[in-house]
Amino acid sequence: MSETIASQPTKGFVDVRNFGLSYPTLEGPVEAVCNASIHVNPGEFVSIVGPSGCGKSTLLNAVAGFLKPSEGDVTLDGEAIDGPSADRGIVFQQYSLFPWKTVKGNVEFGLKMKHLDKSSRDRAARTLLGLAGLTAFENKYPDSLSGGMKQRVGIVRALATGPKVLLLDEPFGALDAQTRVIMQQILTNMWQRLKISVLFVTHDIDEAIFLSDRVYCMTARPGTIKAEIKIPLERPRQQSMMMSSEFLGLRRGLMSLIREESIKAMGGELNDLALDGLSIDLNGQSLADVV
């Protein structure tokens, strides 16, 4: 039974070449992303990190098919992406379960769109829900679930159609730290079982390192790829690895890359000139001295 889901994605090669996208606004076009090239190999887990507003969602939405590139090509297994489809599953930061469907109904939705008959829909949904530890909740409506549970259902729903790629846009951003750790573990487990390509957007560096095979770091707007970092940590990954020197080294490296860009994104370093105007007395020192 589970082979029908597990054995599918031998493919799932995402290729984004020289991608650029501008949003039209009243003040003229806003260049969100420019000349970005990334790829996800079949079965690979790739993250994108970058400062707020650097165009991570824009990039992901182009792969999902919601946005057309202004420049460059976005392809999946060599075919240009033309609109959203079931071969790219997506999980949004906002909870996006259908409130009028039960947990199981939500998971079955994609299969229903594929015109699968009721009994095979039922079996596939139950298998996946079991894998995510959601069996006890299959007849609940989303409103009665916690945030973590909703995202878990969201991931299961996106995986149910057997997509080639799973796209996630800060899926755990709204969760508390403990829940987030559990969700990361669940996502890794499901990814390893299903051997699917994953493109994961986050601004949490630890999360990106812990989950990924590779991490792309983006610059401030207009976003381009600033660096590509391989994560050589062995699998399966344990929570304890987050304390290893290897992990901390990667973390330090990424941190300084992001810091530079975040400062740019916020409009430059705090400069002393601006602080000179201030004369706040702090135990005899001026604020500028303290900084």
């Binding site: 959203p84 079931a86 949004f92 996006s96 259908f98 009028w100 994609g110 769109m113 409506y141």
Partner: protein
């Protein structure tokens, strides 16, 4: 864990439904007080700014009711009004809901039809009576038409409102799960708008009764509105109050019916 047996069950039932019981109790007391006030005001024929001299007392209305219970004519009036509501309201729902869904989904349809509906909407259904009489060959048809108009616009406006509030993220999610136009419409837009559609149906039902009663009073020959007006002409004051109370109960009942239907159709919506 949970104890079995009748007594523990009743105790738990009481604990869960305490709030509801309280509301029912207070509601009953308030109704009794209302009846008492009505009784006293009419028995003593109070004249204080308003005159209760000719207003029938509860006892007189009760007497009138027992008489009406043995009178097939009264039932015929009630049944006729119910039938008009049923036809007019059903017609309004069948036309306004799909129209609202289509207008909400397709901009061009919205742009074409919205100005017309906006101009017609503020016209009270009752102002249509002369035109209705010209439009329709029979009196019965024009009354159903007036009822239809009363229900039509609240249903349309609320359906449109529901469509405008559909979360685009849900539409995107459905597209990524392989949904095409028809499925998106059926599986996302329609259920997402349902709560507002039902708000529209409830409001529409209220306005349908208002319009029906007014139409029956003006141009009817039968129906509970006509019964009430006729009672005034025939100086049977107790029947006026009987007709009014009957209208109130029918309106209440039909709204409750819609709310119940809504709960049945939307088990996820627990408000």
């Amino acid at each position: 864990m949970a104890q079995v047996g009748v007594w523990p069950y009743l105790t738990r039932w009481y604990l869960v439904n305490r709030g509801g019981l309280r509301a029912v109790l207070i509601g009953a007391i308030s109704l009794v007080l209302f009846l008492l006030a009505w009784h006293l005001l009419t028995i003593y024929r109070v004249v204080f700014f308003v005159r209760f001299t000719n207003v029938p007392s509860p006892a007189a209305v009760y007497e009138s009711l027992t008489r009406a219970m043995h009178d097939t004519k009264f039932f015929m009036h009630v049944m006729l009004s119910c039938r008009r509501i049923l036809f007019g309201f059903a017609l309004a729902a069948i036309i306004a809901v799909p129209l609202g869904l289509v207008m909400g989904r397709f901009k061009l349809v919205h742009e074409i039809l919205f100005p017309v509906t906006e101009i017609l909407r503020p016209i009270p259904a009752i102002a249509w009576v002369p035109i209705a009489i010209m439009l329709w060959p029979t009196n019965e048809q024009s009354i159903v038409f007036i009822t239809f108009l009363g229900a039509f616009f609240p249903v349309l406006v609320n359906t449109l409102h529901g469509m405008s509030l559909v979360d685009p993220v849900l539409v995107r999610a459905s597209q990524c799960l392989g949904a095409r136009e028809v499925s998106i419409f059926r599986e996302v837009y329609f259920p997402a708008s349902l709560p507002h559609i039902f708000t529209g149906l409830t409001v529409g039902m209220g306005v349908a009764w208002v319009s029906l009663i007014a139409a029956e009073m003006i141009s009817g020959q039968f129906g509970i509105g006509y019964f009430t007006w006729e009672a005034y002409s025939l100086v049977q004051y107790a029947d006026i109050a009987l007709g009014m109370i009957c209208i109130g109960i029918l309106g209440l009942g039909s709204s409750a019916l819609i709310r119940g239907l809504g709960r049945l159709v939307m088990p996820w919506n627990r408000t």
